[in-house]
Symmetry: C2
Subunit: 278 residues, 2 copies
Amino acid sequence: MEIYSNVADLRAALNKLRQQNRRIGFVPTMGNLHAGHISLMHQAKTHADCVLASIFVNRLQFGPNEDFDKYPRTFEADCAQLREAGVEFLFAPTENDLYPEPQTYTVEPPEIQFMLEGECRPGHFRGVATVVMKLFQIVQPDVAVFGKKDYQQLMVIRNMTNQFMLPIRIIGGETVRAEDSLALSSRNGYLSPEERAEAPRLQQTLQNIRQAVLSGDHDYEALCRKAAANLDSHGWKTDYISIRRQQDLAPATAADRDLVIVAASRLGTPRLLDNLEI
Amino acid sequence: MEIYSNVADLRAALNKLRQQNRRIGFVPTMGNLHAGHISLMHQAKTHADCVLASIFVNRLQFGPNEDFDKYPRTFEADCAQLREAGVEFLFAPTENDLYPEPQTYTVEPPEIQFMLEGECRPGHFRGVATVVMKLFQIVQPDVAVFGKKDYQQLMVIRNMTNQFMLPIRIIGGETVRAEDSLALSSRNGYLSPEERAEAPRLQQTLQNIRQAVLSGDHDYEALCRKAAANLDSHGWKTDYISIRRQQDLAPATAADRDLVIVAASRLGTPRLLDNLEI
């Protein structure tokens, strides 16, 4: 695996690939990789001739109350996993490589940036959109893969890409789950054994809601309110469970198609995210 | 000259050029072309193997009190001038080509967007930055040329391009002037013969300021205040005359290098802009 931190060096390497008409698949990450990330690498491979991953913990998407410095950095282990997965290129810039001057020009997403995760994390999706726009300009991939686990992030990036007419195909990678349905996440490591046993209830709850909707229950608000109350009666602290339109994550009405149930709930220390498309 | 309105058709044509390793020079305009625009086309030619102009009156950069519908559209005459100048490609999208859905993702420039022209035109530079980012994604030029006449616009685009690391070289084209030093502008057509005779005083005023600064006068505020008062005593209504730092257009102090004097002043109906680098 070729590792680059310098932007000019990476560009030179990628230009060579492009001259050979090799399609580039790109998977941006913040490192601390698990099997969910690796499945995105494999997915990128099926759409491109070579895969470039990036590892960059992006200060811009951390809120003032979020601990940028404590975000887990596991570079050597990440590299081992990427090599094992057959990833050919890694872009791992320093902050100075990517932000040689403070980033004062930003990409401003619309209303979607203020709802759900955005409500808890002001400025988060602006920071995500800005760094991804920048990474896209540097890498100029043919295809980029983002996990459906962070559903709102995927939609922000997909819509940004469409509206700015970037010549990049955005692919949503399916969430990888443990056998008991818990979505893989680096946060799962913070669960106690009891909490870990309880954790699959989140996905189970979403599946129950999905079943109810498919059976004709269109009182989405009541459905989600009851589901949240049930979760909380099992020791969860639910931030939101909500049925939304996939594309813009606006609250769904009975008339809408292409829905997604999104949820964030705290179980002990960690805050778990999950979602399920309908 | 090949004329495209459809984005996909344009991309196909440009991809062919790129496969032949021909460098693309891009000059975005809103049409209503004069010799100032045409000099940008010639300048693009010196930096690229072929030149693509665009004509698009961008609703996004017009304020609520600015008349988008009355902006002069002179497509046939523009095409004749572009052909005459040897421009090979013209991109002239409809609003529906460029904005098939409302543009809700925008590029947000920093403080510079609120000063000088931005103070009179809220949202203007956001609209400029957003459409230029989008045009850059569609065209992917090697070089793009913007006139120094709209100095603040040039700086917004140059800084945006740098901060997002777009692989595009931004070139500032020198302002084309009448023999008596008046900067060419489609707004000059609204001047009465008497006003037209008076109009060169704007550039003359800037040259006097420049001379004073070079002679060691560092009281920039007093210099500009006196210059504005003098203009206004000749029938002008001056919005601003100011000595700024070139890069971010922040007010300059005696310690700053790379200065520019920027001015906007109304003479009769039209509002004339000019500037002069020091």
